[in-house]
């Protein structure tokens, strides 16, 4: 087997190297490095994990072990409009699961996936602190409250129409 070479754009690799450096390239800071990298890229592609492993002098397998363990980290790029449905207790008892199912059906997506056109991605989260509005979903930074399954199509269309 030959040498494995991973290619990456210079602005991306510079940024990741800078993030690692901010944490003194200390392997103990792996989770923080991953958080900031995901904030920057929206997800954690294999190339980024390879580079982080190299920078922190730890095996790539260890980095991937952490990425695959925590559900917050994702290796799938987020959509332009990331949708997060709250499944916290208050939302759940007020029917969040049915809302989630409606999003899945409307977008033809499973949780953790992104639509082929790259517009929408679907995730779940636990409590955004708006339990009074339960059930709640977020699209990007915008919060939608008192949701029912029949309101889902309207929300999605709102963004489709912006394209």
């Amino acid at each position: 087997m030959d040498k494995i070479i991973i290619k990456m754009r210079k602005d991306v690799s510079d940024k990741i190297i800078a993030i690692c450096k901010n944490f003194n390239n200390d392997p103990v800071e792996l989770i923080n490095v991953l958080h900031q990298t995901q904030d920057f890229l929206g997800y954690l592609p294999a190339e980024a994990q390879e580079l982080i492993a190299e920078q922190l002098h730890i095996p790539t397998a260890k980095v991937y072990g952490v990425v695959s363990f925590y559900s917050f980290f994702t290796m799938t790029p987020k959509g332009k409009y990331p949708i997060s449905v709250c499944l916290g207790t208050a939302c759940y008892v007020r029917g969040a699961e049915k809302v989630l199912d409606a999003f899945k059906k409307e977008l033809n997506l499973e949780v953790g996936q992104t639509t082929p056109d790259g517009l929408f991605s679907l995730t779940c989260l636990r409590c955004v602190g708006a339990c009074g509005l339960a059930p709640v979903a977020m699209v990007g930074d915008k919060v939608y409250g008192r949701l029912t399954p029949d309101k889902v199509k309207g929300i999605v269309d709102e963004y489709r129409n912006m394209e």
Binding site: M1, D2, K3, I4, I5, I6, K7, M8, R9, K10, S13, A46, E47, Q49, E50, L51, A53, E54, I58, P59, T60, A61, K62, V63, Y64, G65, S68, F69
Partner: protein, 595 residues
């Protein structure tokens, strides 16, 4: 010594402070069952993540049951290892592990040698109340690499392999991935092992308690070759096999079974039964000559020559530096390993001698090693696609072949290896353990350099099981600094010293497996029993002492092959057949300038 007194199952025991309940109990003959726990003190292997909870015990005054493997003994502790509460908890833990484990024991490669199976027997599991939903069980695809088969659905998350791969070997191919039912030990991105920095040392396989990690089994291919009348089969046996194979047939660890082993191979139907010890002697002639040449030039001030010379017999070690230290490629000896030297000679010199075409000869090796399977498949060891060594089988696979062929190993008469590739010396046999290769090289180098007989053949200062050892050998006034490392984490230390310019060694011997080949990834499983390692180690040196000739250059068959075929060590023909080169296999991240 600071000690603590405690009571375990109504028996008083006094142990040094810091001792775990598990070890304290063992010291008075109470064997608490374990699964994830794996320790081999004399090799420095410690895996005690406290993960499986099989070893729980009751400590009076504590609310929860305590895992014995990681709980330290405290003064006046009262421990119960067999109360009803403990037994019930232990069985529940086992039932939960079994609920995420396939039930195909009859077809499993570990059938009869599985620690989980033994636990189920010991704890009397008769049914499983926790039939996890089928889709909840992990569904990983079986993966076959040149050396290792990974069946991650059988993984019990004991993390032994992860400890071996990361702490002992510092290879970093394996890590725990995912969580919940899909949690297993795997590679980065769950990719194929061949895309990882894996060295195929097989230490993960050697410690796996279940059938999650096993060797690629070539026994059927070997049987097919033997029964194919058009093929001439030639087999070679590595030194460490003869001090371990007996264990598979109920013999005492450390039994030397060279004679029976030879008889068994003949009974299996191999046409020629030869010895890798022979090509170990050949390795010494080549590697030793290379060492002397490099040393002479180095001492004469030749700046183009770099020292130390590193041994290159161990294929996992070769993989390790190709992956992790490719910039040091000029340091290892270019000599091929004994397995590959044997193959190259068998399919040239020997094939010619008996008038058999290369394509009609099948060369099989019996090795204590799994990396040898990978090594014999490397492209540079093939001629027109035909490999010098066709199949490499492990000590365990040979035992399987012998059992399959209805051969009563214990009652076999002792037989001798065939001639000429079966004549060997004590120097060849000590290749089987850490320190042996360099001792064999020194025995020859001393006499070649000084042209005087060695005052003493045994170099006790090079022997032992400490991870890193060093010695200075006085070669008639020339002080030869020798380093030895086994276990790749120890090799890494010596390599980093070289990189930093801190190394004063002229020559370093490296073996990937802790203990060397005696504890190779293909040996009978020792399940953490360090007495077995020690017995094999002693047996290697006993086998050396029993040999009439103990220096490679005195092997008459080696002298003959140089005379009639090879010419001189490191000569033209030797370079063609017995030397190799190395490749850069490091994974590197580079900036893509095109985008």
């Amino acid at each position: 010594m600071d000690t603590v007194k405690l009571t375990i199952d109504n028996r008083e025991v006094e142990v040094p402070r810091g001792t775990t309940i598990l070890k304290a109990a063992q010291s008075i003959g109470i064997n608490i069952p374990t699964l994830c726990h794996f320790e081999v003190d004399n090799l420095g292997i410690h895996n005690k993540p406290g993960a499986c909870r099989i070893c729980v015990v009751e400590v009076v005054g504590r609310r929860n049951l305590a895992p014995a493997c990681v709980t330290e003994c405290m003064p006046d502790m009262i421990v119960r290892t067999n109360s009803m509460r403990v037994i019930n908890a232990r069985r529940t833990v086992l039932e939960l592990i079994l609920s995420d484990h396939p039930n195909d024991c009859l077809q499993c490669a570990k059938n009869g040698n599985c620690e989980l199976q033994k636990l189920a027997i010991r704890l009397g599991v008769r049914e499983n109340p926790y039939n996890g939903e089928e889709h909840a069980q992990s569904t990983y695809q079986l993966e076959v690499s040149p050396s290792i088969i990974r069946d991650m659905n059988k993984c019990v998350m004991c993390r032994r392999c992860e400890t071996m791969c990361n702490q002992m070997q510092t290879v970093g191919a394996l890590s725990a991935i995912e969580r919940g039912f899909p949690a297993v030990i795997s590679t980065a991105f769950n990719q194929h092992l061949e895309l990882s920095p894996c060295t195929f040392c097989g230490q993960c396989v050697a410690v796996c308690p279940v059938g999650a990690l096993t060797e690629v089994d070539h026994t059927s291919k070997v049987i097919r070759a033997i029964t194919d009348e058009k093929k001439t089969t030639v087999v070679q046996v590595a030194p460490a096999v003869r001090v371990a194979l007996g264990e598979e047939f109920g013999m005492k660890p450390g039994s030397i079974v060279t004679g029976k082993l030879t008889a068994a191979l003949k009974a299996l139907g191999f046409d020629y039964v030869f010895d890798t010890d022979w090509s170990a002697d050949l390795t010494i002639m080549e590697e030793g000559t290379e060492l002397i040449g490099r040393l002479t030039k180095f001492l004469a001030g030749d700046k183009s020559v770099h020292l130390p010379i590193l041994t290159s017999c161990c294929p996992a070690w070769v993989n390790f530096f190709e992956h992790q230290f490719p910039d040091m490629e000029d340091l290892p000896s270019t000599a091929k390993s004994p397995q590959q030297m044997f193959g190259a000679i068998a399919k040239s010199y020997f094939a010619e001698k008996i008038g058999v075409k290369r394509e009609d000869m099948v060369c099989v090796s019996v090795m204590p090693c799994l990396a040898k399977k990978y090594e014999c498949g490397r492209d540079e060891f093939k001629v027109n696609g035909n490999p010098d060594v066709d199949y490499s089988i492990s000590t365990r696979e040979l035992a399987r072949l012998i059992k399959m062929a209805n051969i009563d190993f214990n009652s076999l008469p002792e037989e001798k290896f065939d001639s000429p590739l079966g004549e060997s010396t004590g120097a060849g046999v000590i290749f089987g353990t850490t320190g042996g290769v360099i001792e064999a090289a020194v025995r020859t180098a001393y006499e070649v350099i000084t042209k005087k007989p060695l005052p003493k053949i045994d170099f006790e200062e090079l022997r032992g099981l400490e991870g890193v050892r060093s010695a200075t050998i006085d070669v008639d006034g020339l002080k030869l600094n020798i380093g030895i490392a086994h276990g790749l984490h120890n090799a890494r230390k010596l390599l980093e010293d070289i990189k930093a310019g801190r190394s004063h060694f002229h020559a370093i011997e490296i073996m990937a497996c802790p203990g060397g080949c005696i504890d190779g990834g293909g040996q009978p499983l020792h399940h953490g029993n360090q007495e077995i390692i020690k017995a094999r180690w002693e047996a290697i040196y006993r086998a050396d002492r029993e040999m009439p000739i103990r220096k490679s250059h005195e092997n008459p068959s080696i002298q003959a092959i140089y005379k009639e075929f090879l010419g001189e060590p490191c000569g033209h023909k030797s370079h063609e057949l017995l030397h190799t080169n190395y490749f850069d296999k490091q994974t590197t991240v580079v900036v893509d300038v095109e985008k």
